[in-house]
């Protein structure tokens, strides 16, 4: 059985007097111990909301969550707040995008790391501080003894992100969710953090859910990739398969629109036309249809179902035939 089983997870935001907004629409995926699963998509595709729903961090009011999130057999969505608090930080760790706003600015780093150990493992402060020092050392923060007493603003962006990873890993959680952990960082620092996460996952056997918009990061790190569009998984496959043969027009278009470092000179980019604002609701058909070069009449009438094609899940009426170049740009 998988460590984390997400089934039909939906999140609907409903504000009084407004149309309900479906942020996540029936997302399902599994994460095995030691495995890295990627959730990729552009802004507004529901990837962050998915992670917040798993962690139970969405507000009780206004957000309606349905489906099941089974962690080691127990449904996290059915747990009380108190039970969930016991799990967060101990079984489930999370690393957020912006380390400055997720660390407490008025509490020294050392205390923020040891706090987790005191709360979940019942360690006395002194012992927890020693452990905290080891953790900072392990995530590659130089001179950890001094850093323990320092405040977040005294650290650089990369060091803050390392501290955040140290906090998330303090209790050796079996599952780590990383929400755009390197987006706020420079590329050379990003490379450091990614190799650190890779190492930790290998050493500790942690299952990792990696949420990012960067297909390059996914290509290097994830075992299985879920491509999200408008709140639904449109394509899911193992990474080699997905990148070698993207079948969904969205995945295909996304890959064709990224400038690659190893591209031939003079190679043209093929953007996807329009923007996310052009989406139609999933209930009317395929949300991507208005931007899709492969769209048929059926695409705006019938919602495409998820089909299993030899280890690849695909939600499309007219998938890309392997080997076709990206469609020429249609003037907007």
């Amino acid at each position: 059985m998988a460590l984390l089983e997400v089934r039909d997870l939906s999140v609907v935001f409903q504000r009084r007097g407004e149309e309900p907004f479906i942020a996540v629409d029936g997302v399902s995926f599994d994460v095995e111990p030691g495995q890295t699963v990627g959730l990729v998509g552009e802004s507004g595709c529901g990837k962050s909301v998915t992670s917040l729903a798993i962690m139970g961090l969405l507000p009780k009011r206004g957000a309606k969550i349905t489906g099941t999130v089974k962690y080691d057999g127990t449904d996290l969505l059915k747990l009380s707040d108190r039970e969930m608090r016991d799990r967060r930080g101990r079984d489930l760790g999370m690393v957020f995008q912006d380390p400055l706003s997720s660390l407490n600015p008025v509490v020294p780093i050392g205390l923020q790391v040891s706090e987790v150990l005191e709360r979940h493992r019942g360690m006395p402060r002194k012992e927890a501080m020693i452990e905290a020092k080891d953790l900072l050392d392990k995530v590659g923060i130089p001179d950890p003894n001094r850093r323990l007493k320092e405040y977040p603003h005294q650290l650089s962006g990369g060091m803050r992100q390392r501290a955040l990873i140290a906090i998330a890993l303090a209790c050796r959680p079996k599952l780590l969710i990383a929400d755009e952990p390197t987006t706020a960082l420079d590329v050379t620092i990003q490379a450091q953090i990614l190799s650190l996460m890779k190492e930790l996952v290998q050493d500790l056997g942690t299952a990792l859910v990696m949420i990012t918009h960067d297909l390059g990061v996914v290509a290097g790190l994830c075992d299985e990739v879920n491509v999200l569009y408008g709140g639904k998984v449109v394509e899911k496959a193992m990474r080699h398969k997905l990148f070698a043969e993207p079948r969904h027009p969205y995945t295909h278009g996304l890959l064709a629109s990224i400038p690659r470092l190893d591209a031939e000179p003079g190679e043209k980019l093929t953007p996807i036309k329009g923007s996310v604002a052009d989406n139609i609701p999933w209930s009317q058909g395929c949300a991507f249809a208005p931007r899709c070069p492969n769209a048929l009449d059926v695409c705006v009438q019938v919602t495409p179902a998820e089909e299993d094609q030899l280890g690849r899940l695909l939600r499309c009426h007219n998938p890309v035939v392997p080997g076709t170049p990206a469609a020429e740009e249609v003037p907007v």
């Binding site: 552009e42 802004s43 590659g140 130089p142 001179d143 603003h153 005294q154 650290l155 650089s156 990369g158 060091m159 420079d186 590329v187 050379t188 620092i189 990003q190 490379a191 450091q192 990614l194 190799s195 918009h213 960067d214 297909l215 390059g216 990061v217 996914v218 290509a219 290097g220 990474r239 080699h240 990148f243 070698a244 278009g253 996304l254 890959l255 064709a256 629109s257 990224i258 400038p259 690659r260 470092l261 190893d262 591209a263 000179p265 190679e267 043209k268 980019l269 093929t270 953007p271 996807i272 036309k273 923007s275 996310v276 604002a277 740009e329 003037p331 907007v332």
Partner: protein
């Protein structure tokens, strides 16, 4: 007409660090740009890359004199731009336009698109009658791929990519020779990024524009640029054509930078060898002596690196590098070694020998 449009000579921008409420004392400088020479040819795209804090944006702004350079000059089309004053400067600015990173904060939310575009035309006396202006506006919008109905709308009614198109139309309105684009696509989603990149390339062909593109994303810069300059801590470390730079990076920093960029292809990713740089970017207020990169360089040598600042020298035609040991590194004579990360002080680089006179804030002054 000479081939060179822009020539920047030994440009320096130092920002003073001030302390004290009653006595305004300068206690140090942030060496944002520290001696940069570069040339941009007519009709080419020059890409300037580097990580945050390397001074690439400041350099771009200093060239337009949005920040006054501390030293050095910029010669634009044979004229010394840095000594121009008043009306002459204002007139010259028509020929150099800028596109900013965040299209929402660089467009006035209370101005309609029409008024945004007309403002520049008026200021430079290009607004000749209602008829011709409205024709010009239509041309501009169709050039950047927006419908004519956009004129009466306001910036918030557009998506990110469309807003960036308005920003580009605004820059185009004055028929400039040079467009300085500071991170033109980094705020956009990838699928939209490509639209704007392609648009910029089309406009260049159509109007014969010269671009200076400032960005942190080496893949985007490589795609759009003819020549690329890599900056590190206020100085250029390498300059070459886009293909040469990628095929044969000579500076250790460029090598590390290139190896750090993820490629969306698992086959390539699995095979690649990463050069991981130790530690963080040192503070530009307290830059390392000698070569700015020696504190993180895996190829650092015992001599020269920490004492002598390498000058940018031409190793091959059109390929310049600022490294003492570039030849030896390239031939494999010098091998990379482990680097221990050193602590980067985040104290604004105030050297300890400068006594801090006077209170640092009002609270400190009131409660001594």
């Amino acid at each position: 007409m000479s081939e060179t449009l822009v020539s920047v000579q030994d440009m320096k921008v130092h920002f003073p660090i001030k302390r004290g409420v009653f006595i305004d004392r300068t206690v140090g400088y942030v060496y944002a740009v520290d001696g940069v020479d570069l040339e941009i040819k007519r009709g080419e795209t020059y890409g300037l890359v580097g990580e945050s804090g390397c001074g690439k944006s400041t350099l771009g702004r200093a060239m337009l004199r949005l920040n006054e350079p501390t030293a050095g000059k910029m010669v634009f089309d044979g004229q010394d731009f840095s000594t121009l004053k008043g009306e002459e400067l204002r007139k010259m600015r028509r020929r150099i336009q800028m596109v900013f990173q965040d299209p929402l904060s660089s467009l006035d939310p209370r101005q309609s698109v029409e008024s945004i575009l007309v403002e520049g035309l008026r200021a430079h006396g290009l607004d000749k009658g209602k008829e011709s202006t409205s024709k010009r506006l239509r041309e501009l919008l169709s050039a950047v791929g927006l419908p004519a109905s956009a004129l009466r709308k306001y910036p918030h009614e557009f998506s990110g990519g469309q807003r960036q198109r308005i920003g580009i139309a605004r820059a185009l309105a004055l028929e400039p020779d040079l467009i300085v684009a500071d991170e033109p696509v980094s705020a956009l989603d990838v699928s939209v990024q490509a639209q704007v990149v392609n648009l910029m390339e089309e406009l260049q062909e159509q109007f014969g524009l010269t671009y200076l593109v400032i960005a942190h994303d080496l893949a985007v810069v490589k795609h759009i640029s003819d020549r690329v300059g890599v900056m590190y801590l206020g100085g250029l470390v390498e300059e070459a054509t886009a293909e040469d730079l990628y095929a044969e990076p000579l500076h250790p920093y460029t090598r590390a930078l290139l190896s750090a960029i993820p490629v969306p292809d698992p086959v390539v990713e699995d095979r690649r060898e990463r050069i991981l740089l130790a530690g963080d970017l040192p503070s530009p207020a307290n830059p390392p002596t000698g070569c700015r990169f020696h504190t993180r360089c895996p190829w650092r040598q015992a001599s020269r690196c920490d004492t002598e600042r390498p000058a940018l020298r031409e190793l091959k035609p059109g390929h310049k590098v600022a490294c003492h040991w570039a030849e030896q590194i390239q031939s494999g004579e010098i091998q990379p070694h482990e680097v221990k990360p050193i602590l980067v002080e985040e104290n604004d680089g105030l050297s300890p020998d400068v006594p801090l006179v006077g209170p640092a804030s009002v609270t400190e002054a009131l409660n001594p």
